[in-house]
């Protein structure tokens, strides 16, 4: 079995893999020509981007002004034509939107934040309390991770079953 060949009883699986040759390659002249390619990008792109940004801004400002005009006309008409009850409903709706605005933004942020996760509170408190105090040196900490098989196994098992 591969397990026996790698002799993982003595050494960590991942440490043995690290001893193998690095599997990725890149052409020999890639790094030699990098400076020239970066210089070309610095010389070429800068003036064009300023013009494009200005033109885009003009278009967006025009669009924003149009929307404001339409909204202003619509709001004015609504204000003139709705009765007292209608005005109260409109105010409630605006208040509802304002109250839930942050929740909506939070839900978007949370969607992206899933992949910004570094560690959960449970994992962090475990490390702080149990490990860091005794293993302040980086190499000692890595050795601890390699030697302790049960670290976070319940979390890992949950992860693998998903």
């Amino acid at each position: 079995m591969l397990k026996d060949r790698l002799d993982i009883e003595k050494d960590s699986f991942l440490e043995k893999i690290k001893e193998k040759n690095f599997p990725f390659h890149v052409g020999e002249d890639y790094f030699l020509s990098l400076e020239d390619r970066i210089r070309e990008r610095l010389e070429v792109k800068e003036p064009e981007r300023k013009v494009i940004i200005f033109r885009s801004l003009k278009a967006y400002m025009g669009l924003a002004a149009s929307f404001l005009l339409i909204f202003g006309i619509g709001f004015g008409v609504l204000k003139l034509t709705t009765n007292i009850e209608g005005e109260k409903n409109l105010a409630d709706n605006i208040e509802l939107l304002e109250n839930h605005h942050d929740e909506y933004i939070d839900s978007i942020d949370n969607f992206f934040a899933v992949n910004d996760i570094m560690v959960s509170e449970e994992e962090l408190s475990f490390v702080e309390k149990e490990i860091v105090i005794e293993n302040e040196n980086d190499e000692d900490f890595d050795e601890y991770i390699r030697q302790v098989p049960t670290l976070f196994t319940h979390l890992i098992a949950e992860e693998l079953s998903n």
């Binding site: 960590s12 893999i17 910004d116």
Partner: protein, 180 residues
């Protein structure tokens, strides 16, 4: 190997092109492999590496020496990769294949990968990690950077970095043991 303080001194003395060339020569390989581990393909890593150095060039005059030049460069590179990956994730929302599958496929499609079965399995497990956790794992496992430097790069603290790394390490190890 040139000291970072020499590069900064050259830049401040007006030898900006020379300073920048030295910076690229000194850090391009390390940054490239860090980016490659994060995004999988040579083309994406190359693009991000160039973006990193372009941003560095534009910001070097504002660089504050409170953080080292090395951790500052890595922070720019890591943030470039995380932003890129976030954009890829959004663009992949309506695709039939998962985001992780696409990342894994990028490892071998370029023709510049020569690892064996177990090395490929390791790379696949790394690609399944959350993006920020992958960055941390790459910096510690492959580049053997100190936890305090990784914490500075990811704008976090060493304890959180250690916890994240240990979870990633054990997760990958368990998956590989299960497969082999």
């Amino acid at each position: 190997m040139i000291d970072d303080s020499q590069i900064l001194r050259l830049f401040k003395e007006g030898e900006q092109t020379q300073a920048f060339n030295l910076l690229v020569r000194q850090y391009s390989k390390r940054l490239y492999w860090h980016l490659r581990e994060m995004v999988g393909s040579h083309e994406d890593a190359d693009d991000l590496l160039q973006n990193t150095f372009i941003k560095t060039w534009k910001s070097l005059s504002n660089f504050r020496s409170e953080s080292g030049l090395y951790t500052w460069l890595y922070r720019i590179a890591t943030n470039e990769a995380l932003t890129f990956l976030k954009r890829e994730r959004i663009n992949n929302k309506f695709s039939f294949s998962s985001y992780e599958t696409k990342l894994v496929n990028k490892i071998t499609t370029g023709g510049d990968y020569s690892g064996d079965t177990i090395q490929l399995a390791l790379q696949k497990e790394i690609m399944k990690l959350p993006d920020k956790q992958r960055a941390i794992f790459s910096m510690r496992y492959f580049q053997e950077m100190e936890y305090k430097d990784i914490a500075e790069i990811t704008e976090s603290n060493p304890d959180a970095v250690k916890a994240s790394y240990s979870v990633a390490y054990k997760k990958i190890e368990a998956a590989l043991k299960k497969e082999f």
